[in-house]
């Protein structure tokens, strides 16, 4: 049976071989001996060898420690909400997207009830306003504008 390391090794091996194949399309300059494919090929070769080593080491391993119990609910939700935030940033603009993100993620991480909703919305509003004022106004760091809102 293949274990966690074996899976990781196979994934790295697949990546190394794909990249090695892609390096065949790179041009070889006529005047200089070393082209753009020279160093990557050495690297991918090393990556493939190390990955293969990891797979073999995993197959040879007699006992594997049981994986610790996993609690991925909040991790998956946070990644999903963050991905939505990143997608919405150029559409809604920094201020609107950030307000929604900070409020949404707070609500998911610790579901509010009753008056705690005001805290959630207050924190989101304060975070957005402070970030905007400090970065755009004070430090002259530009933040994304929304395609849809122009805001």
């Amino acid at each position: 049976m293949i274990g966690r390391d074996g899976v990781a090794g196979l994934a790295c091996l697949a990546a190394a071989l794909t990249l090695l194949a892609a390096s065949r399309g790179l041009p070889q300059p006529a005047l200089v001996p070393i082209g753009p494919a020279f160093y990557p090929r050495i690297l991918f070769g090393a990556l493939a060898a190390l990955s293969l080593g990891l797979v073999v080491a995993d197959l040879l391993r007699r006992e594997r420690p049981a994986p610790p119990p996993a609690h991925y609910r909040l991790v998956v939700l946070t990644f999903a909400i963050f991905a939505a935030y990143v997608a919405l940033l150029p559409v809604l603009g920094f201020r609107l997207a950030t307000f929604l993100f900070v409020a949404g993620l707070q609500a998911v991480l610790e579901p509010p009830r009753g008056r705690r909703w005001w805290l959630v919305l207050g924190v989101a509003l304060a975070a957005t306003a402070i970030a905007y004022l400090v970065f755009e106004r004070y430090l002259s760091v530009l933040l994304p504008r929304g395609r849809l809102t122009g805001f």
Partner: protein, 507 residues
């Protein structure tokens, strides 16, 4: 040398530099004290604020975070028994028992004064060693640089506590990330698979922020899902007789100097930082002690060793980045990114080309220590209350600052997409038991390794030169030695029947 430092001290004492330094130090103290927020995370949070600043002001803020962070960790370590940062792990061993015995003030101030003294001793080394080391590095040709980078990478990969293979694989993945995008010789797009997104490659700051921030935050969220609750925080009085505490430290000069030296040495070595220094110094203090059995019961030696070493470690890391351009750990990696944004290239020429910034960093490091003492004295009980801020409020705000940090680099969304991409990758790597330090070092050194390899082979096609040039050959021999040593150590551990698995990401 010390004349230039004197001038820089006067410059950094001006409000425009002292203010960011003090704010950075406070941020470091708070971030260091917050369990689950490491110094790396704090410096990532502070990073976007430095974009709009004068380079020296930005770097002063970062040095403040670094020094403050190393000292902030000791408050939670002593009072709650939870290390606020990995660099305060060993402080919990004796700090917490001492505080529980009814001497919280003694525990916290022993640590703080030891940090201060260790840090100031470290500063002497920083100022004295950087220039000669940079001068030595000026003799380097592409062969030496290539070998130095290979040595740095192999040592970091070898030092990982997890599997050696995974350490090297992680470093290789870091290097692979840097070959994506336009190649440095002919400017040909490589491995972009026809997408515009990959055309310009990945900048290392979004990669670094994504990998470190997400790996840390998501590991915390797992614990939250599992129902782990934050520790209850009490804020006891920290009143203590300072002369007595200082005497307790300086009456143990050997312990103090030895711990400082360990911190410096670990700091100078690339990409391992305070998290290793404090544990190693504690271990050494125990070995040299006449009463090792009393370690862990709340004796001052344990606290002094841990805290003197982790602040001295900052000085060591700063030496490496300023003399060789190689980050001593993840925190200096972020500082390296910040320097590059401001058009400053750290390396052997840094001291001669940018003396104002270089001596400004020395001055900021020196001044951060008294600033840290004052803030600790005024605010330690106040900022300890911030530890109560729930994760549900902290996490979204940290992520927003990560997004600003990545976006504001060049005002393009591509960097934010890279942040998300590497956030997922970093978390997956942690879950699969890969160490992250070699990967980050690979990403930082990748371009330089390629450029120096190609440059040396184009100058002279003879590959034996890497071995026959004395400095280059010695570095390669050292990297081979570090691999052999790591193999031997892992084998020994394996024979003892203790497979080493790091349960958490440790930065």
């Amino acid at each position: 040398m010390f004349g230039a430092l004197w001038g820089s001290l006067g410059e950094v004492l001006q409000l425009q530099y002292l203010f960011p330094l003090a704010v950075g130090t406070l941020a470091g103290l708070v971030g260091g004290a917050l369990p689950g927020v490491t110094i790396t995370m704090t410096i990532i949070i502070v990073l976007p604020f430095t974009f709009g600043m004068d380079p020296l002001a930005g770097l002063a803020a970062m040095v403040g975070v670094y020094v403050g962070g190393e000292s902030g960790g000791l408050v939670t370590a002593s009072l709650l028994g939870i290390p606020g940062t990995p660099s305060a792990v060993a402080t919990t061993f004796d700090g917490f028992p001492m505080a529980r015995r009814g001497e919280p003030g003694r525990a916290v101030w022993l640590g703080t004064w030891a940090s201060f003294i260790g840090g100031v001793l470290g500063a002497v080394f920083l100022v004295a060693a950087t220039v000669p080391l940079a001068r030595f590095a000026l003799q380097f040709g592409p062969w030496e640089y290539f070998s130095l980078f290979v040595f740095a990478l192999s040592m970091v990969a070898g030092l990982t506590e997890q599997s050696l293979l995974k350490g090297f694989l992680s470093g290789a993945i870091g290097l692979v990330i840097t070959v994506i995008g336009t190649d440095p010789i002919m400017a040909v797009p490589r491995f972009t698979f026809g997408t515009e997104f990959l055309q310009s490659g990945f900048q290392f700051l979004p990669v670094l922020i994504g990998i470190f921030a997400f790996a840390q935050i998501m590991s915390d969220l797992e614990k939250m899902s599992a129902g782990e609750r934050a520790a209850r925080v009490e804020t006891p009085s920290l009143a203590v007789s300072h002369p007595a505490v200082i005497w307790e430290i300086v009456s143990r000069p050997f312990l103090l100097v030895w711990s400082t030296l360990i911190g410096l040495l670990i700091g100078v070595l690339p990409a391992i930082g305070g998290s290793a220094a404090n544990v190693m110094a504690y271990d050494q203090a125990k070995k040299f002690s006449r009463h090792p059995e009393r370690f862990g019961t709340g004796i001052p030696e344990g606290i002094i060793a841990s805290e003197a070493s982790n602040n001295a470690n900052v000085a060591g890391s700063l030496v490496t980045i300023m003399a060789f351009g190689i980050p001593g750990d993840a925190v200096t990696a972020v500082m390296l990114g910040a320097m590059i944004i401001h058009g400053i290239q750290p390396g052997p020429l840094f001291m001669t080309q940018q003396p104002r910034v270089a001596y400004g960093i020395f001055a900021a490091y020196l001044l951060a220590h008294p600033v840290m003492m004052v803030l600790q004295w005024l605010l330690s009980r106040v900022y300890l209350r911030i530890v109560r801020v729930p994760k549900s409020i902290l996490v979204p705000n940290i992520l927003v600052l990560c997004v600003i940090g990545a976006y504001a680099l060049n005002n393009v969304m591509e960097n934010v997409y890279a942040l998300l991409l590497f956030g997922v990758l970093g978390y997956l790597l942690v879950k699969f038991g890969f160490p992250l330090a070699p990967l980050i070092l690979g990403v930082i050194l990748g371009d330089q390794i390629e450029v120096n390899l190609v440059r040396s082979l184009m100058t002279d096609a003879d590959p034996w030169l890497f071995l026959t040039r004395p400095i280059s050959g010695s570095m390669l021999a050292l990297s081979a030695l570090s691999v052999v040593l790591a193999l031997w150590q892992h084998r020994r551990q394996y024979r003892r029947g203790a497979p080493v698995e790091a349960p958490d990401a440790d930065f």
